[in-house]
């Protein structure tokens, strides 16, 4: 290999290293920034403020509930205008650690979809978790089906320890229209943190 070729290959390697570093930095920064934006602007998009999560720890299975509808206004309008709406929920249970990142204990994902039929003025409700499909003529019922969690089972209590602080974070991925999974969703969709709560087992 001549000296010139060595110089060129050295330059290429240098630029590749720089590009890799910048790419990693860019991804990390984007992710962090989007997480930050998701927390800050979640209210702007789908709710007025972070909703409260009520956690039921009295039973063998930990249940959580969100009392208010998330993004009800936007959802109501979209459903009335005939758009297919889907809410993909992600409930994350983390163990709180003081001097390090929180430890992920459990992660539950499920989705719900409402398919409007403007001609017959009814809404088809699809629950991916249970597989049940139903129809309703009530817009309010359709909105609540999508945007509210009622006594949803999250994690088995045996997986948690007594006296340890846990946080429960609810992230919401809103999809309008037909649900389509793309490979780039991993890096382009980060969801909105819509509710945060904490609990400690006795």
């Amino acid at each position: 290999m001549s000296l010139k070729q060595k110089k060129i290959s050295g330059k290429v390697c240098e630029w590749l290293c720089k590009a890799s570093l910048f790419g990693m930095f860019f991804l990390f920064a984007s992710y962090s920034y989007s997480e930050e934006l998701a927390g800050v602007y979640a209210d702007y998009s789908y709710s007025e403020e972070l909703a409260d999560v009520s956690v039921d720890i009295s039973q063998p299975v930990i249940y959580c509930s969100i009392s208010s509808d998330i993004g009800a206004n936007h959802l109501t309008r979209a459903l009335k205008e005939g758009s297919v709406m889907a809410y993909r929920w992600e409930i994350i249970i983390e163990e709180v650690r003081s001097y390090w990142l929180n430890k992920n204990v459990g992660n539950v994902q499920f989705s719900r979809q409402v398919v409007p039929d403007l001609v017959s003025k009814q809404w088809l409700l699809k629950d991916s978790n249970s597989g049940i499909t139903s129809a309703t003529l009530s817009t309010r019922k359709a909105v609540s089906f999508l945007a509210r969690l009622k006594h949803f089972p999250v994690i088995d209590r045996s997986l948690l320890e007594s006296g340890v602080n846990y946080t429960i974070r609810v992230k919401l991925y809103v999809e309008e229209g037909e649900v389509k999974a793309h490979w780039w969703d991993l890096v382009t969709k980060f969801g909105d943190t819509v509710a945060v709560g904490s609990f400690t087992l006795p």
Binding site: S83, P116, S120
Partner: protein
Amino acid sequence: MSLWLKILPLLLSMALWMVIVWLWPSNTTADLQVVAWVNISLLFVLSMLLFLYGMRLWLRKEEPRPGSRLRAKLVIGAVGMLLIPAGTLQIAANQMVEKGMNVWFDVRVDTLLDRALSLAQGFYGRIDQDMRHNLAQYMDDDALLSDISNLPGSYRSLNARMTDVLRREGWQSIQLYDRNERLVAAVQAEGLSDFKPEAFTEQALVTLTMGRISSELFNQQNEEMLIAYAPIRIQQHIVALLKVKTTLPTDLIQHARAVESDYRTYKELERHRQSISDIFTHAMLFITLMIVMVVGFVAVIFSRRLTSPVGQLAQALKKITDGNLDVSIPNASDDELGDLVHSFNRMALHMKQNVEAIEKAQLDLSDALTSSRQRQYVLETLLANLQSGVLLLNEHGEIQLMNQSLRELLILQPSDWTSGRNFADLSRGKLHLVHDFYNELSHQKNETLQRELEITIQGEKRHLLARGARLSTSGLSGFSGYLLLLDDVSQLAEAQRHRAWSEVAQRLAHEIKNPLTPIKLAAERLQRRFRSQVDSHDVFDSCTHAIIAQVERLQRLIADFSTLARLPKPHCKQVQCATFVQELRDLYSAYPRVRVADMPAELSCHCDADQIRQILINLMENALAATDDDQKHIRLYLSHGDGMVRFHIEDDGGGVPESVREHMFEAYYSTKSTGSGLGLSIAKRIADEHDGDLSLISSGSPTHFCLTLPMQAPQEKSTEKVQGET
């Protein structure tokens, strides 16, 4: 590099960061974020590249590589020329899209779609309402209820009645189920050959539970069917469920679904109006960025190819500036830059050849200069050691060169006689003879001139041999002027004169001495034989005595002449000075005015004792002659130093007149009537031949003569000197 070019990349990077913040996609347009993120990525990469480039420029201390500034300007110019129309186009396109949006999402379109959807809903609602209304009538039909209550006995009647209703209402099928979801009766327009009982839907269960008529849509094989459920009550108890199915008109329902689809699409678009505008902006921005990057890349490559010869030229020039002339730029293109490169290569080659020639000439010149310096050194050494005075004048008579011998010869003032001074101005007065010689040389036709000059310098006459030569401009030096050589030939002249006198004296002495003895003998014979015969003895005696005395004086005179002419070589040896002193003390002991001082016994001098004794006696005789009174004293004492012994003879006589002083050591000069004038001359000559000196220190009060003699022989003296230095 100017400050503007240095901070421009950093400013652009900051501007791109601001654009990134401005264009950061919102989460409401999740489906449309891909292009936005791609744009953000591109902008980020561009901003980081610009930032790194700017920082490198800012931190770089050394001079940028040749051609880089021109390359940067070309790239900036190309991208700038692209950005202006691209930006303008993007702004115009955004405006057009915005205006198009306003047209597309006009309220009239909105109203039209609302009405169309209302029509579709009304069509469906009408069918549904009619079906519900008819079902409500049949629910209360007593004959039907009677047949249902009397089953299975009334099955035929029920079937006929249901067939009649089916035909009358135009429904597709009528099915009757009991509360246990068992099919009780069924009629179908197409017959029951392909009839299949269906399980209860949730809507059917709701109807059974709630006891109200309900309906639902059902899609089957590109057909939409409206299914209605009606509870059959007998005595307030729901005993059966009547399921009626009718196929909706295909054309109408397709139109209704098309209206629904359009309405949904329109509303989605209207809801995402801002997102559509954003995605258009991002798409345009993506295209612009891609074009900018492609153009920038092409501009970089193009500018590299364009400025590469410029950079090579600059590097080659730098090498030439550093002294490396072995420079050649390869790979010249066939354009003007290629011609420039070819011209540069030719120039570098010529310059290299010229420099080599100059170096060779310089080497030759250096050798010549060295040789010239050597010659100059030899010449200066020669001139410095030359006894002759050398004076070099240019054609204007200005002094160019003169040696030390000339200064000493003419006793010149060094401050006046400097290079560049005019010789004519300096040589007036006592040196006018030299000036006349120069004038004669400069005005004559011959190239050379030789004259003997006698000039008086500080009261001393000097006999000079002047030789001159004209230096013409035909020589290689290009110098024209005059070269004067002055030699002091006073001693030579003196020697010649002395030699001539010696010869004359010898001849005279020889010619005169021979007859003097017979004359004297004859006079004495006359005195002895004829004295008694003459009458006047006194006259006779006086005459004969006069003859004899004059003859004797002539004999002494001739003896002096002989002595002067044939002064013998001194036979020197070491003589104790006390010997001379003691002899003189004894000799002149009869003269009380003579005082001889004592001296160290070991003091000696290297001399011929007889000749020195003659000098001392001569000096003592002169002193005695000058002091005829015992009140006036004569002192003889010695001193020594610098390897010389000095005999001092002082007398308090009348002294030596100034007019006599100049000539007193010349031969045949005497103030005495009976003197030959050779005494001091001989004494001076003896002293000179002993490498000593006889001088008059003081011409009066007292008259002081000093005889200087070497203490040792010259060879011994030099040997001792060498030993002392060693």
